[in-house]
């Protein structure tokens, strides 16, 4: 089984051939964003981190930027730095270039302000786009795909139709030798005992339970009932009552494949098959984490209609709520409400999702790419801003 992808020098395969303009600190976002507006074929990744944080979070920012830069969907990378931030910009550039791609850095305080940096950066990125455009798609085996699994703005339809259908699609990808990454550890709370049963061995099972305990303790440290935050107000309006109920529906998207390994946020898996990555469920952080871990396509189920994509990874929106499908056509890619109506079986919906994943991986555009709804991203941090 094959798809049409972009084979990179390090052997990995991208589903897009984009130039990534990565801001290295919150203070450089404006310049990164502006450069992306002057060039077709390049997108900016912006976030709120990179300075005045504890060392654990600075290390997290460095690792995440390296992971994003190495993502096979990027042909080349421009780092946009302010100059005085905590991010180790030189180290990030060096690590990304080890993947065999061109990396350039613009430092706003050295170049002499935003206007000059935008001009200089634009010329660099224009050159990168032209160079990248020589690469053509070729037939690549499905085992080279890395799929991110995500659900957001869930309601009670999520656990009944799109999540179990996505689980079937993920199983099909893994049977073909591919990789799926499951994040959203907050949404394991109350269902972790079932996930642990899927672990390939006792050690991986324990790592899953430990990850959930860490996340739950973090949530509880505020000294409040997390309901209202998880499940969210929107989840509750949609009929979800507790985090346990949300989790029991959310984990269905992992399918039935054995969980091979557990990774920290944004770390690329070293094994094929289904893996778990530490991450909260909120869109800006988990989409970034999945992209940094090397996902080249993301399948995102939604009940009430979450609009976000990611700057350089296609995000396929799948809903089981007919009302959402009819109302939010500019954000939804697939409708599986037929399962709710009893008109389509879950296995058939799963196969349909799998085919759509291969089509999107081969170049079909998602609604989030077409509408450009990809800007509000962030990196998951665990400590305070200081």
């Amino acid at each position: 089984m094959e798809f049409q992808g972009f084979r990179r020098k390090d052997g990995s395969v991208g589903t897009r051939n984009t130039i990534g303009i990565l801001s290295t600190v919150v203070c450089a976002n404006e310049v990164a964003d502006d450069i992306s507006r002057h060039v077709e074929g390049a997108t900016a990744f912006m976030h709120q981190q990179g300075c005045c944080q504890t060392p654990v979070d600075i290390a997290r920012v460095n690792e995440t930027l390296i992971g994003l830069g190495k993502n096979p969907n990027l042909a080349a990378v421009l780092l946009v730095s302010l100059g005085c931030e905590s991010t180790a910009v030189g180290e990030v550039a060096k690590a990304i270039s080890e993947a065999g791609k061109r990396v350039e850095t613009i430092v706003i305080q050295e170049v002499g302000g935003a206007a000059k940096s935008i001009a200089e950066g634009t010329l660099l990125v224009q050159d990168m786009v032209q160079e990248a455009s020589r690469l053509e798609r070729t037939s690549c085996p499905v085992r080279d795909l890395v799929l991110g699994l995500k659900c957001g703005s869930s309601d009670t339809t999520s656990g009944l139709a799109p999540n179990p259908a996505l689980g079937i699609a993920s199983d099909l990808l893994i049977e073909a030798g591919g990789t799926s990454i499951l994040g959203e550890v907050t949404e394991f709370i109350g269902a972790e005992h079932l996930l642990a049963l899927h672990a390939r061995d006792e050690d991986v099972g324990k790592q899953i339970l430990d990850l959930v305990k860490r996340m739950e303790n973090r949530a509880k440290s505020a000294g409040q009932d997390i309901r209202g935050g998880q499940p969210t107000g929107g989840n509750i309006k949609g009929g979800l009552t507790t985090i346990e109920e949300k989790s029991l529906g959310a984990i269905a998207k992992a399918g039935t494949a054995p969980i091979q390994a557990v990774y920290e946020y944004g770390i690329a898996p070293q094994v094929k098959g289904l893996v778990v990555m530490d991450s909260p469920g909120r869109e800006p952080e988990i989409l970034t984490g999945l992209a940094a871990a090397g996902c080249t396509v993301i399948a995102f189920t939604t009940g009430r209609g979450a609009p976000q994509g990611f700057p350089f990874v296609p995000v396929i929106k799948i809903t089981g709520n007919k009302v959402t499908w009819d109302k939010l056509r500019d954000h939804m890619d697939m409708d599986v409400s037929s399962v709710m109506e009893g008109e389509e079986t879950l296995p058939d919906a799963g196969k349909r999702i799998f085919r759509e994943i291969l089509q999107v991986a081969s170049g079909m555009l998602t609604k989030a790419e077409i509408s450009g709804y990809t800007k509000a991203m962030d990196i998951y941090t665990v400590g305070p801003v200081i």
């Binding site: 009670t156 009944l160 949530a219 409040q224 009932d225 509750i236 009929g239 009552t241 507790t242 029991l248």
Partner: protein, 97 residues
Amino acid sequence: MKNDAIMIHEKDNVATALRDIKPNEKVVVGTGDKSSVIQVQQPIPYGHKFAVRDIPGGEDILKYGEVMGRATQDIAGGTHAHIHNIESLRGRGDLER
């Protein structure tokens, strides 16, 4: 017969409405290949849950055959089961202060 609601696991004590349900409607609740008819007492919005039998306060709420919370008061069969009568057992930082 088309299901008006779905009870995902036969052990469950709540069912999920597949359409807006009006008070005093008799609805078809599907579980796998089986189905039963329940008289609903209150309006149940699409996607919300109702008790399929009388649930005493303090009893576990089961969905997907798993514990999804606990009844904070008696929930009569056919009435709305949601945040007003079900509490979460997890992420309860308020209980550890």
